[in-house]
Structures are given as C-alpha cells and as structure tokens.
C-alpha cells in the first residue's frame, strides 16, 4: 500500500472532528473520499499531511510512519497535497509558482518538468509570465495541481478539484487525473460530486460526521442506492 490510515482522530480545539477514519490507496490507484459539506474531507487530508495539531492514529506512507513528522517532511517523502482553496501565490507568476513546488526527482515516482505540465494543462502554457492573482478559478486549479506535481510525488491528495468549476474545465480535470494515473501516480480526491468521482475513481469511501460510512469499489457504491441517498447530496 502507498498510503495507509487507521483510527484517525482529529480535534479542532475541543471539537472532535474525526473518529476512527481509515483509508488506503495502492500504487496507481485513484480513490475518492466522498461526503457532504462539513463531513470531514478536508480535515482528513489536513490530518494526513500534518496540518492538524491535535490528531492521533496510524498514518503510514510508502512504508514510513509519518504521524510525528512536520508537513514539509511528509511532503518531501513524496506525498503531494493540493488544498481545497488552491492557495495560489497571487504575487508570483505561473512559472514562479511552479518553481516553489519543485523538488528533486524521486525513485518510483513519475517525474514532471514544467513542459510536461504545460502539456497536461495547455491553458497554462500560454500564461507562463502571468501573475497568479490574474487567473480565473479554473486556471488557478490547474496551476495548483501542477505546482504540487512539480514535487514529483508518488501520491497526491486532491481536495475537491471540481469545486466551482465550469463543466468544460471539470472535464479537463478528469482527463488530467486519468493522465496522472497512467503515469503511475496514486491519487486520492475528495468530492461531493459523485458523477465526477465516478468518471475517474477505482474505489470510494463515504465520510459523514467524521466517520467512514462506506468503503468499497465504485461498482459496489453504484449498487447501493440507499447509502448514496443517505450520505451524499445529489
């Protein structure tokens, strides 16, 4: 397994947000973490990359226990993280944004150059010198994914990559994620949009109120209408 998470418990102050969350992803697999607003998707990702100070449970990435590590150490092991709010450096150009994400090539993980990423997202190629702040939401989403790929990760956590995007851009995102999978990358996405998740994922988890309520293949989820109705907004 690339990523293994068991018994994750996370707190914000006194609020107990995650209870016993588990999640795994194999090499080259695309896994979806589905759930409504406030279900705990972002918190799960943030806990995995060490951004939630009060958090316990097993977190193993590529055979290494990452539970006590600092965020940058976890990321340097090859675990890429694309936050929900994109967090583009608005004062930096597209190329400079990519430069910040750059890390040395890593064994067993696909290597990305700026040019590879411009192939993946042709829109970006036309705006290398543009400031991050002067880009549309869709372009920023492409940039934030590319920036994380510059670190040559072996697994990426993508927090709601389709959020707030036009259907055409969402389609482009799906293509890009399938392309990433083809390169041998593992991808964990969080989603509310089941249709988008279905396009690209092999397996899915459903999270609700900080607990995993379902865990199975995409086909199994399709067969269980009552679970979808109970936990996902349609």
């Amino acid at each position: 397994m690339m990523l293994e998470v068991h018994g994750l418990e996370s707190f914000y102050g006194r609020a107990h947000i995650l209870s016993g969350v588990h999640l795994t992803a194999a090499k080259g697999e695309v896994v979806a973490l589905l759930g409504r607003n406030g279900a705990g998707k972002t918190t799960t990702f943030a806990s995995i990359v060490g951004l939630v100070p009060r958090c316990t449970g097993t977190r193993v990435f590529g055979g290494t226990d990452i539970s006590g590590l600092a965020t940058h150490e976890i990321v340097r092991l090859g675990l890429g993280y694309v936050p929900e709010d994109r967090r583009i450096f608005t004062d930096l150009t597209v190329e400079e944004n990519l430069l910040v994400g750059q890390q040395p090539p890593r064994e067993g993980a696909p290597t990305w150059t700026t040019e590879d990423l411009f192939d993946l997202f042709p829109n970006l190629a036309e705006m290398r010198g543009r400031l991050g702040g002067h880009m549309s939401g869709g372009e920023q989403q492409m940039l934030t994914i590319s920036r994380t790929l510059m670190g040559n990760p072996s697994l990426v956590l993508l927090d709601e990559p389709s959020e707030g995007l036009a259907p055409k851009i969402v389609e482009q995102m799906a293509h890009a994620i399938i392309e990433m999978k083809k390169h041998g990358l593992s991808v964990v996405i969080s989603e509310q949009n089941l249709h988008f998740a279905r396009l690209i994922s092999d397996r899915a988890y459903i999270i609700e109120k900080g607990r995993i309520r379902f865990d199975g293949t995409m086909a199994e989820l399709d067969a269980q209408e009552e679970i979808r109705d109970a936990y996902l907004a349609v």
């Binding site: 990359v49 951004l51 600092a70 965020t71 940058h72 990321v75 340097r76 993280y81 936050p83 967090r87 450096f89 608005t90 004062d91 930096l92 400079e96 944004n97 430069l99 910040v100 994400g101 750059q102 890390q103 920036r147 994380t148 670190g151």
Partner: protein
C-alpha cells in the same frame, strides 16, 4: 542653488544608510511577521564590530573586508537568536515577539557597554575615499558619494535575489502564504533563519558603513530603530521597494527640513508619516493584511471577571497597600506611589489595546500631556492641587480626542505606528517650545497641597485615585460599551457588517484610555514636583507595553500586576547592579517564552485548571 544640490546629495547619502536598515527590517517582517525591535541593536552591533575589525585589519582590504565581515558576524548572531529564541515564539501574538526582541535589545545594549565601554569611538576613515570631489564648486566627501551608489546597488541586488533565485522566490511565496510553502515541502524553519540572517546582515551593514561618518556610541540603536520603523511603515511593511522610496523621502526630509522648518525638524518625519498613513493606510507600496490578524490573539480566550479566589487576592493586596505606611519608610512609600501610578497607566493602556484592540506605541503622550497639563496650570495660573487634579487630565483628554480621531481609521501595526507618531509630535512640541514648556529644562515647582505633601498623605491620595481609576476601567470593560468595544476588536469586518460604528466606538475607547493615562501623569507630576520631556518620551510608552504584556492581557488585573512587577524589578535591579539592562532583558525574554499568557494569565489558567468553577461561566459583571 549649488548649496541646495549638495544638501540634496547629503539627503541621498543618508537615505542609503536608512535603506539598508529599513529593508532588513521589512524583509524580516514580510516573511516571519516578527516586528524586530532588536534591529537597531544589531545595527549598533554592526558598527561596533566594524570598528574593532577595521582597527585590527590594515589596508583597503582590511577596511572593506572588515565592514563586510562585521555584517556577516552579526548576521550569524542573528541567525542563532532566531534558532534559539524566535522559533519558540512564532505562534505567539505579535506583540509578544516585539516584547521578546525588546528584551534582546536591552541585553545587547548592556553587552556593548561591557565589551566596548561607554565612550564614543571614532572609527577609521575609508582608504581611498578620504577625500572629496568638487561639485559645483563645493567639496563633497567621496565616501558619501559611495553611499549614494550603495543604496540603489543593494536595491538592485535584492531585486535579483528575490526574482532570479529559487531561494528568493521561496521567500516571496512565504511572505504571502507560509503554510502553503510548507505544504509544498519547503522547510520553513530554515527559510526563516535564512531570511532573518539576511535582514540582520543588511541592518548590521547599515551600521558598519557608518563608522567613517559618525562616532560609534551605545545609543545608536534607539535612534535608528524609530526611524527604520517609520520608513518601513511609510513604504508598506514587507515591501523592499517601498522601503527604498520611503528612505529617500525621509533622507531628503531630514536634509531639507533642517533648512526649511528648523523649529519642527524633529517632528517632520512623524508628521509626514501621519499624513501618509491617513491617505494610504497601508503605506506607499504595502497592501492590506488579507485576513486581519489580531495583534494580541485575544479572540481565543475571552476576558472574564475574576472568580472568588481572584477577588480575595485583590482584597488582600488592597489591605496590604492600606497598611503599607505602617511598616514602610518614606523611600518605600515613594516607590509604592510610583508603582501605583504606573498601575493606573498600564490599566489604561490595557483598556486601549487589550479591550479595544488598538495597540499603542505612544501611550506616553497622554501620560505626558497629563503631567504637562498640571505643570502649565501651576506655572501660568497658579492653580492649587485640587484644581490641577480635575483640570489637568483635560489636556490628555483633548490630545486623545484629536490623535484618536486619526488613529482609529487604521488597524494593527499601522495604527500602532500612528500612535507613536503622535506621541513623538507631542514630545517634540514639549521639547522645542521653550517659552512655554521650558524645553529640556522642564517645569519645576509642581508640589502637592500642604495637606498631601507628606509621603504618607500623598501615598494615600494616589492609592485612592488609582484604585478608583482601575475600578472604573474594570466597570467599563464589563459594561455593554466594553462588550461592543471587544466585538470591534475581535472582528473588524463583523462589527462593520452588523452596523456597529466601529470607528466611533474605538474612538471613545481611545479617549477614555488616554484620559486615565493622563490622570496617572498628573499624579506623577505632583509626586516628582517637576515635569520633563522624558515624561512623554518613547521609554515611557515601552514601559507601559512591557507592563501590560508581562501581566497578561486576558484580565484587568494583569496589567496592574505587570506594572508592579516591572517597576519594582527595575527599581530594585537598578539599585543592586550596573547590569540592570542585561538582567531585565533576560528576564523579559524568559518570561515571554515561559508565560506567553502573561504572569496573571498563567496564574488564572493554573487556578481554573484546578477548579473550573472558579469564576463566572458567563460574562456577567461580578
């Protein structure tokens, strides 16, 4: 005309030095969000190091190498400081960082005197640049020409560093979003250390290049730090180009201000800053903080009235204060009176910053206006003490009305700098308006009425006034007005959104705080029998800040206790040892690291943990 041109060049030369220091301060602030009060101390250290190295190393290489080596050495000290101290307090509210770096400043000041002595040192002249060149028939020192070039050259190098190297791009990214930089695998800690070292290097270089121009002395730090802050704020915090423009502005202002407005030359810089901040609240090239961060981090824990245990402690302290004259001599009573006055002063500052969210670097203004108010009333109207006590705070009140009106238009560090500007304006009026204020000589003969002139009587009078004052402040804190004031502090946006007239509420808070500080000043004038410009100067403001932060901002009692501890400690340490700055500075640093909640906050936490029912759960006044 020629003379004016030479003066213009002089302005540019001093602008270069200012730029070196201010750019370092600005870079450090931009990335680490630390307002590095110790920057001036590192500037001074740079000058001293350069002095020593250039004395030992001969020749041109020795001189220039000495300047550079001095800056590098100081930068290494800075990096160590970052690793040992600042890393522990990045999460702390920004004022605590300011306090810690203030402690460091005190330590360095004392060390400098221990190592290099208290006398001014005259450094070597620069080999090859000792002469002067002829410009329009006037001799202009070559060294100054070199400085004129140095500023833009450093600006260019910094631009290259920040735009053409990955490290520089990382720094710019971290200026904007540190968390995201970490989430991309960058070791923030190392980046911060590097940035801090770079900033200190620039500051120390600024000091090192001064040695052929002026004597090296142990008060260089305070002089430069205020100017550097002003420049950084005018330019926009975190903007290097802004710092450059502001340096030229201030350099020229200093060069020509002396000629055009000799009477108000000292204050000119602050006037310009005040005007710029009112027009452009984020400085020339700065930009608003994306998410207005609370300077004090108070939002996490609401202020609550003391519980039963706390109230008993207050009563016990009051009792001790009441019977103090029985066993204390007149020296002790004098000290106690002074402590009481500063307790009121600190409580008033706490009302402004802890409750009102307006951090003041210039609270001395209202203290000093109170003191001068009474001295002027005595001098010109021969008003007796009863009248003085009532009328003199009016001057502080008026000052607060006037200054506050401008200040509440800003927030955060910018507001703090504007308060400093006004305080400096008040100070220089007092300092320069000889005919009325006596200037440097102050005003003498402000004595209490005969019935209050014994130490005991005056002590009781002070105790009564200060106790009532603190009680009133407490009333205000827990009144509906106090709650509204706090909601303005906690969220500017929300307060604006629900229709609270934030600026008016804060203005009122500002005026109240200023008036209480003024009452403290009035008492202080009567205690000392005289007033001096010192009573309205920066150290008084800094003392107030230290007291409030030391005691803790989460309780009304905090600042009062902080005042007691700080005043008593400094009086005691000064009388016991000549290393008082060293000891006090170290203590401040330790206290900040050990008790980020302040002393009283720490004690309250301790009791609340033991007995969670102590203290009302709600926020109702006790």
């Amino acid at each position: 005309m020629d003379f004016l041109f030479i003066q213009f060049l002089n302005g540019l030369a001093s602008a270069s030095s200012l730029f070196l220091v201010a750019s370092g301060l600005s870079i450090i602030f931009g990335v680490t969000r630390i307002t590095n009060f110790a920057h001036g101390a590192f500037y001074m250290l740079g000058a001293y190091m350069a002095y020593t190295l250039t004395e030992h190393w001969s020749g041109a290489l020795g001189f220039w190498g000495g300047l550079l080596a001095a800056a590098v050495a100081v930068a290494i000290i800075g990096a160590l400081l970052e690793i040992i101290l600042l890393r522990r307090i990045y999460q702390a509210p920004e004022l605590f960082q300011l306090l810690a770096t203030f402690g460091v400043t005190l330590v360095i000041e004392d060390l400098v005197i221990q190592i290099w002595g208290a006398e001014d040192l005259l450094g070597r002249r620069a080999p090859g640049l000792k002469g002067s060149v002829d410009i329009f028939g006037q001799a202009f020192p070559t060294y100054e020409l070199m400085l004129i070039v140095l500023g833009p050259a450093v600006l260019g190098l910094l631009w290259l560093l920040f735009h053409k190297t990955r490290w520089g791009v990382l720094v710019r990214a971290a200026t904007q979003d540190r968390m995201m930089v970490a989430a991309l695998g960058v070791n923030q800690a190392r980046l911060f250390t590097g940035v801090f070292a770079l900033g200190i290097f620039l500051g120390a270089l600024g000091g090192a290049v001064q040695i052929p121009r002026e004597a090296v002395h142990n008060a260089m730090d305070l002089q430069i730090i205020v100017e550097a802050f002003v420049i950084v704020v005018i330019g926009g915090m975190g903007s290097v180009l802004g710092a450059f423009l502001a340096s030229v502005l201030i350099g020229e202002l200093n060069a020509f201000g002396i000629l055009l407005f000799p009477k108000i030359s000292i204050v000119l810089m602050f006037l310009v800053m005040a005007v710029i901040l009112v027009i452009r609240p984020w400085g020339l090239l700065g930009r608003p903080e994306s998410h207005a961060r609370s300077a004090l981090g108070t939002a996490e824990r609401p202020i609550r009235p003391l519980g039963r245990g706390g109230r008993n402690a207050v009563l016990a302290v009051l009792l001790v204060l009441l019977i103090l004259p029985v066993f204390g001599g007149s020296y002790l009573l004098n000290v106690a009176t002074e402590v009481l006055i500063f307790a009121l002063f600190a409580a008033s500052l706490h009302l402004m910053m802890g409750i009102g969210g307006m951090v003041s670097f210039g609270h001395a203004a209202y203290f000093g206006l109170g003191a001068y108010g009474v001295a002027l009333l005595v001098k010109f109207l021969e008003i007796p003490m009863a009248g003085g006590l009532v009328l003199a705070p009016l001057l502080a009140f008026t000052g607060a009305v006037l200054f506050g009106w401008f200040c509440v238009r800003l927030t955060g560090v910018y507001l703090a700098m504007l308060t400093l500007a006004f305080a400096q304006i008040a100070w220089s009026i007092v300092f320069q308006w000889d005919a009325v204020t006596g200037g440097d000589n102050g005003l003498l003969g402000v004595w209490p009425a005969p019935w209050a002139s014994t130490p005991e009587a005056f002590y009781y009078l002070t105790l009564a006034i200060c106790a009532v004052g603190v009680m009133m402040i407490r009333r205000i804190v827990f009144s509906p007005f106090g709650y509204t004031l706090r909601s303005c502090r906690d969220s500017v946006l929300r307060a604006d959104a629900i229709g609270i007239d934030r600026q008016r509420i804060q203005w009122l808070g500002f005026i109240l705080a200023g008036t209480f500080a003024g009452i403290g000043g009035v008492l202080f004038a009567y205690l000392k029998g005289s007033v001096f410009p010192d009573n309205i100067s920066i150290p008084i403001s800094v003392d107030g800040l230290v007291m409030v932060l030391l005691g803790g901002i989460q309780t009304v009692a905090g600042p009062v206790v902080g005042a007691g501890i700080y005043k008593a400690l400094s009086i005691f340490i000064i009388s016991e040892t000549e290393f008082w700055k060293l000891i006090l500075g170290t203590l401040i640093v330790i206290l900040v690291v050990a008790f980020p909640q302040g002393v009283v906050g720490f004690a309250v936490d301790l009791f609340r943990r033991r007995d969670p029912d102590d203290g009302e759960a709600g926020e109702a006044p006790a």
